[in-house]
Subunit: 200 residues, 4 copies
């Protein structure tokens, strides 16, 4: 109701530039000075929107986590049948689209902050809790429909998250787009089989 605050728009614009700067220079190379130069403004104006750099990083993580969350949820909206939904979920999880490489650069940089910043860790936990919750829900629904065999849906969701993150982490080291896709299919099938037969 009413038009969107100009401040909010500006802050988002800054975060987007910050995001791309981190892709290019890493978190350690992304300074406010470089950011302001890239945006063609003064760094003092930057501080007008984010009083400290710390604030900016925190805002980035919040935004990034929202991005991460919003990328997964819409994938489930369309399909209605349980079969289609579960297929869609695991298809999405092991597709290159799930996380493109550029994203990873920022994601892992922010990830390293969980070790020194409890707030960052809490935000990551929140995001993964939501991720877990959604998977739980989908797994339960699929199990109810008799599509998969699951004894502990919550535990299965944890396992699935680990597998997905491990898959992405490892594939990024290999950095071969072809292998990424091929392995994605293999992992996807493997996961499907295990869930169908029951992950004991």
């Amino acid at each position: 109701m009413g038009r969107k605050s100009l401040v909010a728009v500006r802050r988002l614009e800054i975060l987007e530039h910050f995001y791309h700067l981190i892709i290019e220079e890493g978190l350690e190379g992304a300074s406010t000075v470089k950011l302001s130069r890239r945006m063609g403004i003064r760094s003092s104006l930057l501080m007008h929107y984010f009083p400290t750099k710390e604030d900016m990083i925190q805002a980035l993580i919040v935004w990034l986590m929202e991005l991460y969350e919003n990328r997964f949820l819409p994938m489930l909206e369309e399909k209605q049948s349980p079969e289609a939904r579960f297929e869609t979920v695991i298809d999405a999880l092991f597709s290159p689209a799930w996380e493109n490489l550029a994203d990873g650069r920022v994601f892992y940089s922010c990830y390293t902050l969980i070790f020194r910043d409890e707030g960052v860790r809490a935000r990551f936990q929140q995001t993964f809790a939501r991720f877990h919750e959604h998977l739980c829900h989908e797994i339960t629904r699929a199990a109810d429909a008799g599509l998969i065999k699951v004894s502990d849906p919550s535990q299965s969701a944890h396992i699935l998250i680990s597998w997905v993150e491990g898959f992405n982490f490892y594939q990024r080291i290999l950095a071969d787009q072809e292998s990424f896709e091929a392995q994605g299919k293999i992992f996807r099938r493997l996961v499907e089989n295990l869930f169908r037969e029951g992950v004991h």
Copy 2:
């Protein structure tokens, strides 16, 4: 003639301090000045052993990868029977000892460099290739002994690596030592079962 070279000793000493500094301050906060102060020497002496900070980071990664490699191999030396060996392997992979938390802070910081530095990526690839090779060997041996069912040992090794790394990655977000150990046992058992029955 000439003075005895301390290069080997000193460089290692510097890397160890650098390693702990990164744990405390992150890669972005680990400056040469802080490092020299922590060591009680002049930063110019640091440059005597590592001409540039870049050289130091590269050396750190080499050292870190060696550490990573050397932590796994010795775990297999003692045991002789195939049963004991395979048990030892998966025990090791999902134990908190496999990677303690302190290690992770440096490990993931260095990991982010693979996106901007091909040399770093190559070093990570090499390490994981060795890791993969060893797992392949153990899996084949265990399969030959009839302990597990495996159709493609190489692929199974890739899967195992992904699972291990994903497990560590996800557990570090939760950051609960208790959950880490409990989940470690669960994952370990799961992996064991899947390998015994055959990962299809």
Copy 3:
């Protein structure tokens, strides 16, 4: 809106201090830190006005060449008669006022840069081209008035410049103010005679 720009004023102020610092410490001893201390400001403020030291040196040379040019031209403004003008010119050229000793320290330091920096050389060439042009004009005018005999005014101007610069260069080695003035008179008279009789 925004704060009033001090760029023009501040840059000039900095160049003047830089100029005097070079007199005292030479180009090789004139650091940005010393300069900022001398001005009672932070060196970071210096970089606000000149992004790099190189920029500062380039600006200094431009300023110095303008100084050099502006010192000569006004000497001709007042006098009207051709006789007076030509007298004034050669009077000026061989007077200690033409280049005082302090000036020389900076001038020759900058001169050495022409060997490694094409931009600096171009700026020197431009200044001397203007110098040459003015001398040409004066020589032609004096020749037209029958005061001097000249076959090639352009060549005569080149010769005159060489003589002036050589005179200054050599006298600075001797560094004797008395000799400088005495020799100045001798050279001045010599040049006058040669031009009156015709430099063949």
Copy 4:
């Protein structure tokens, strides 16, 4: 008698490298560290031969002045007749060989030191005094032989030095090898004519 001190040989070798380093980087860029790297030795060994950098610069200037002197004198040895000698002298003075461009880079850098270092000035004065002395001698001899008209040989020698140095100084700004040679011939002829007719 006895073989040449190895120290002297080494010192000379160092000076030669220092000389070329100054050509490439200027006096302000020629550090002992760069010099030692260029020579493939430790900078501490450099200090063994020249206790301080200041000593090295002083030695360079002595060596440079000797070079400067030794380049002129041998030109007179061969010819016997007064005509040939005077021709040779002014030929030499305005030839590009007299000072090639590389030389100039170091020469003017050292020249700037005369403003801050009395020792350097004294050494320059000594060299030019010798230069003056030789020219005096040649001028007197040529005058005695009736080749030229000169009232004050000493003064004429001073004038000649100024002209030569001014010629070189100015031509180096233009930096055109062709113009250098062409102008050299013009200046040479001019000087010859003036001396023949008498520099009043």
